[in-house]
């Protein structure tokens, strides 16, 4: 009799493969989760405060209250992700016990460890992590992340950092793809990347796991921009529920993500969306207040 195997690498990575071409939306209440699902989100991220509020209010940002996460899980049929602090493996254990579908070990929350990330292979639930460059992406994969995303600069509504991070990761992959095999070890050392994962990436010509964009995406055109640059899907954080008409904007971003190569459709869905989130130019944020620099 065949035995079921759960929590395998294939089902972890496979779940992210099912999210591709989709939009994952930050939500803080069951009501927002319903709006996201009705707009066509392929998953929601349950959190206490959206990044724009974390940035404004300051203080320590932690895993959301389990009551809130359960309310959101009960409200929708699509996958529910939730954030744990970098290195806070007990928050991750709690999220796994609650039954969330993916954990984001996220720089948006205040890090719990300034040297170590969570050893994600220990968990049955899969993890997504942020990255700014290929070395960071492959270190997270080495720790067991089954999905990557750019960090961008969360809570700004400014897409520039997500573009920078996506171009860096994808550009570095193109660079190692064109290298001779004897050059891989040197570049692995240079990037601080696990050698075997770097070789696998060079041979595949892409990350071995699904790679989304996140951090600062606020409009349908932003989402399509990231898709055309070569990511597999997008996270939208503050961009939806900090805008004038969340339901309409959420639907438009979903449509632009599907039809990212069709400017006529992007033009059509971008009309009359009301006020976007107010935004904060990422360049004006002092380094110690940047979220993207968290993670090691």
């Amino acid at each position: 009799m065949a035995e079921k195997q759960t929590g395998t690498w294939t089902v972890k990575v496979g779940h992210a493969q099912m999210l591709k071409g989709g939009v994952i939306m930050d939500v803080t209440t069951a009501e927002q989760a319903k709006i996201a699902e009705d707009a066509g989100a392929c998953a929601v991220m349950a959190l206490e405060r959206v990044p724009a509020d974390i940035r404004r209010e300051g203080g320590v940002a932690r895993m959301a209250d389990p009551t809130k996460i359960i309310e959101i899980m009960d409200a929708v049929t699509i996958p529910v992700m939730a954030k744990a602090r970098i290195g806070h493996f007990v928050e991750a254990q709690v999220l796994e016990a609650l039954g969330v579908d993916y954990i984001d070990e996220s720089e948006v929350l205040t890090p719990a460890d300034e040297e170590h990330h969570i050893h994600k292979h220990d968990f049955k639930v899969p993890f997504v992590c942020g990255c700014r460059n290929l070395g960071e992406a492959l270190r997270r994969l080495g720790e067991g992340a089954a999905m990557m995303r750019t960090k961008g600069e969360a809570g700004t509504g400014d897409v520039v950092e997500a573009v920078r991070h996506a171009r860096t990761v994808l550009g570095e992959i193109r660079r190692i793809q064109n290298m001779r095999p004897e050059e891989w070890m040197h570049v692995a050392k240079e990037l601080g990347a696990p050698y075997e994962l770097l070789v696998e990436t060079a041979k595949l010509g892409r990350l071995p796991v699904v790679n989304f964009a996140a951090g600062g995406i606020a409009t349908p055109a932003d989402a399509a921009l990231m898709m055309q640059l070569g990511v597999d899907g997008v996270f939208v954080g503050s961009g939806i529920f900090k805008s004038g008409d969340p339901a309409k904007r959420a639907k438009a971003i979903v449509e632009a993500t599907t039809h990212y190569n069709d400017p006529d459709i992007i033009a059509k869905v971008s009309r009359g969306l009301g006020e976007p989130m107010s935004g904060l130019a990422a360049r004006t944020i002092p380094e110690k207040e940047q979220l993207a620099v968290r993670g090691w």
Binding site: M1, A2, E3, K4, Q5, T6, G7, T8, T10, V11, G14, H15, Q17, M18, L19, K20, G21, G22, E37, D38, A39, G40, A41, C42, A43, M73, T77, I78, P79, E96, G99, V100, D101, Y102, K124, V125, P126, K251, V254, E255, T257, T258, H259, D262
Partner: protein, 195 residues
């Protein structure tokens, strides 16, 4: 029809469509991404991949794809739904969301639990021959009951129906596109929807 002369579309509104395209191309089939009704015109068959069925439904309604997709099914073209694709093809799922409603079966979404309950298992699929098929179930649905014209292709040990066929419509609750075993794709292009 030989695989080399076929053109199969893969619905690319959202989800794991690239994986199906690669496996079809390995069989010599011309495989294309489908996002608009006009792209359905000259297809010999269609795959509806895994992803989120609610997302497919919303986008299919917005972009006017529901009726053209139903027409393709009614025309006898081979159509295969994996996981979310199976949900989208079903007549009844016990909740309100846009469906094509062409498969005479009652399907239950997220039937095995949440992501931590996703699993892999070796499955007997008699139409594919004796070696078991390594089946990957991700937040998978199951088939609760089928109509008289639906043939069951595979069951779990406890009897749960996880693959079925109704004339030109093939459904699997699991993801053959996440494996390197192309037997299901070959079965689809060679045996489904033959007149």
């Amino acid at each position: 029809m030989k695989p080399e002369t076929m053109k199969i579309g893969v619905l690319a509104l959202q989800g794991a469509f690239i994986e199906h395209i690669k496996l079809l191309q390995d069989l010599g089939v011309a495989a294309v991404e489908i996002r608009k009704p006009t792209e359905l015109a000259d297809l010999d068959g269609l795959i509806i991949p895994g992803g989120e069925s609610t997302t497919f439904g919303k986008l299919a309604v917005t972009f006017g794809m529901i009726e053209p997709l139903r027409a393709l099914c009614a025309a006898g073209k081979p159509v295969w739904g994996t996981c979310a694709g199976m949900i989208f093809l079903a007549k009844e799922i016990g909740r309100a969301q846009p469906l094509l409603g062409v498969l005479d079966a009652k399907v239950k979404r997220n039937a095995f639990g949440r992501q931590v309950d996703s699993f892999e298992i070796d499955l007997m699929v008699p139409v594919l021959g004796a070696p078991p098929f390594h089946a990957i179930f991700i937040r998978a649905p199951l088939i609760e009951s089928v109509g008289a014209d639906v043939q069951v292709l595979a069951r779990l040990d406890d009897g749960t129906i996880v693959a079925a066929q109704q004339a030109n419509i093939l459904v699997t609750a699991f993801h053959p596109e996440l494996t390197r075993d192309s037997r299901f794709h070959r079965y689809f292009v060679e045996h489904v929807g033959k007149k």
